[in-house]
Amino acid sequence: MHNQSDLLLNLAWLIPLFPFLAFAIIPLGVYRNRKLSHGLVIGAISIAFLLSQIVLWRAVGVWSIEHTLAYESPIIHWLSSGYERFGLGIYIDPPTVVMLFVVPLICMMTFIYSVGYMNFSVQVDPRYSRFFSYLSLFAAGMLGMVIFNNLLAFFICWEILDICSYLLIGFWYEKRPDLDRITPQEAGLKAFIVTKIGDLFFILGLMLLYAEIGSLTYSVIFSHETLEQLTHTPFLGTDMATVIALLLFGGAVGKSAQFPLHVWLPDATQVPTPALALIHAATVVSAGVFLIVRTFPILQVADAGVLAFEGIPFVALIGAFTAIFASVVAVAQNDVKRGLAFSTISQLGYMVAALGIGAYVAGTFHLITHAFFKALLFLSSGSVIHGLEHGHHHAHEHHEEHEKWFDPHDMMNMGGLAKRMPRTYLAFVIGGLALSGFPILTSGFWSRDNILVQAWAGNLIVFWTLAITAGLTGFYTMRQLCLTFAGEPRTGAAQYAPESKPAITTPLLILAAFAVGLGWISIPEQLPVVGGIVPNWFHHFMLSTIAASEHVFDSTPMLIGAGLSLTGLLMGWLVYGYKPLKASEIDRIEAVMRKIRLGWLYRAAANHFYLDSLYQNGVVWAVLKLADLADWFDYGQPQKRESDGQIVLVKRHGVVDGIVHNAGRVGNLVSQAANWIDATLVDGLVNLVGATGRHVSADLDAFDLEIVGGIVNGVGEVKFLGGWIRHIQTGKVQFYLLIASVTVLVLIIGFFAIIFLPI
């Protein structure tokens, strides 16, 4: 442990601060000034990027001297309750360094891209500044999650990401798309609620961990003694470590969109594209995987036999199933963003599966390469969509298109864009090849095949699942490429689509460079010819602080993987690229499947196997019915009744309402009783008094007439005074208060005068 306080590493405190400040300042001050808003945000993320580079290289420097890296900064105490004090500090170790490399860079690229994207149309979005402040908060949350040293701060930043997801997905909340599409508000709510389900497991895991250990700081919970204690504490039939590991994994399932909590990600396509890229590639979903990476020590000591299937640990099971499920669905998607969404889910399944079988390095490596090429793919698809929207306007002006609902996301409306948008085309090709793991050249190959190698030695079922997924990935990637860029334009919009401006294409090209080059930091050394030129730097770096076992390299799985992905690419080209689809021709696979009576299967895949409808009609319906029941219990159902020919709403009270009502009625009765007592008793008294008075006055009548009469006449003169005093009672509360204050003031000053003035 590098225990001395290191100034440069302590700079990490400042990394999330600047984006957070940008987020806070924009709504408080510069809301109306758009240029200043996006300037602030880009400035903040650039500072964060610079700082993280400094911290990163310093950390690497420390590592190369000491060959281990687990730095914890001085701790500030930020929460105290009773005898407990929570400490907050910075923790820097290899996963942190890796994420610090990836996240600020991708965020910066995406923010620059957003400026171009949001400024493209003539009418700038009125909530422009708000968008950028949300993006900034997102970056702040992600950076905070990466650097802090305890699970509580991690969770707080995790929740910040949740709320940003909700705000960004539902950003264009006025959009009312086709009736069968989901609205942005609903998509935002869906994302929030589904990830919340995962968060429930997360927080249960946190609670268990805290109750058992009494601390949530990494240096405490990942220490040898703690892990020993966790594995030897029995709980729920197995040991505590397993339960905690599974619960924490639940959080990752929600956030990283693994099956069955993946349903929010495809509907998140409503968000403006650069934010979508962020959500998918660099933040929310990799946050889930990062959680697993962070808590890997607990996962390692957990009992892999619990909830395992045929020898596959539960985590790997979910991951592998998600990978292949999502890639099958991706084949049948026509919306380019949705296809990429499923592709993301599939790749995340890869990472989770890798971590599940203990391949720590491979999983993390794939996390960072995926971040780059997925961001690249999303940003380039955004460029395409923007071009298509522009082209649609253009086509309109030339009156070549009818005014029908035009979906710029639908790949069936594209085609032939390779000539019209060459830079975007290049970026998309590189991203797509990286995604399918084109051998040697792309980073996706190195990271994905690393996982396959580990799976080959670890668990054959997982290996074949992932390998088949590789083939499918190649296939649907080539499908997307061909449908979008090859052949002739299928609609007027595609004909007129212009290339995007440099603010959009430059980040694309930078990311493309990374998508290619990043692979070379982790080439296995035993690989003939290519290996050994550059040592497997990443491998050593990641394994320096964690005792994970890595299997010996074997070239067979690598060849199988490469072969399958190349086959997939080739098949895709044959089906879609050799003779590109013409306009209004339906998808070839769909046509073929219809012919062999499997059309229903294709449609099922296109509707992602109806999982969404299942959730909507099952879970959501049940919850809504429960809410109705609670409402009935509370307030009752209003009834309609005919009365004099008019329909009248008569309220019938529910249980709670009835209790309140009856309490009120009791109060009413009590007051009525008091009233009656008052009226009868007091009345009787008053009558008695009156009778007595009458007798007395009858006797004293003559006497009174003179004396009392005289007094009364005198009092009448005072009526004038009363008439004046009456005006004091204006009925206005503030006037009374003013008089009261004046009186108090006079009294106070009077007191002091009496005490202090010599009299």
Binding site: S80, G82, Y83, Q734, L738, S741, V744, L745, I748, F752
Partner: protein, 166 residues
Amino acid sequence: MTLQQILFLIFSAITLIAALMVVTRRNLCHAALFMVLSFFGVAGLYVLLEAPFLAGVQVFIYVGGISTLIIFAIVLTRDVVDPTLPPHNRQWIAGALVMALLCSVLIWTVLGYQWTTTTPGQVPADSIARLGTILVDPEGFLLPFEVTSVLLFAVLIGAITIARER
């Protein structure tokens, strides 16, 4: 000027300036938001006074509860009065004078008295635990605590009854 003095000045400035905005803004929503800012300022002062628990309670109850209530009331009772009218009523000069006078008297009193001759001691580390204990101690504040609960219950029912739809 130590750091705490500077922080004190900053927090006091936030509190007082925000309070001034509250009482002078025409737009009630702005006033409510400035009130929230003022509450945060007060919470900051509590932190300086080494009462972090109270700072938390301040944020929870005032910002989280009462401010929300007031914003609801503002929304539910949208003024149909002519918005060009000034925010103050006809007795505002008198009110300002009285309050200014009161403020001077109070400040004069404060400055003129020797409040304490010794330096105050340290706040014990378990002060929050002590606070919790004394609230439920029969020889402490248990009775007021229970009475407050009854009060809140009564207020709950009373407020619902008063504001019900007929």
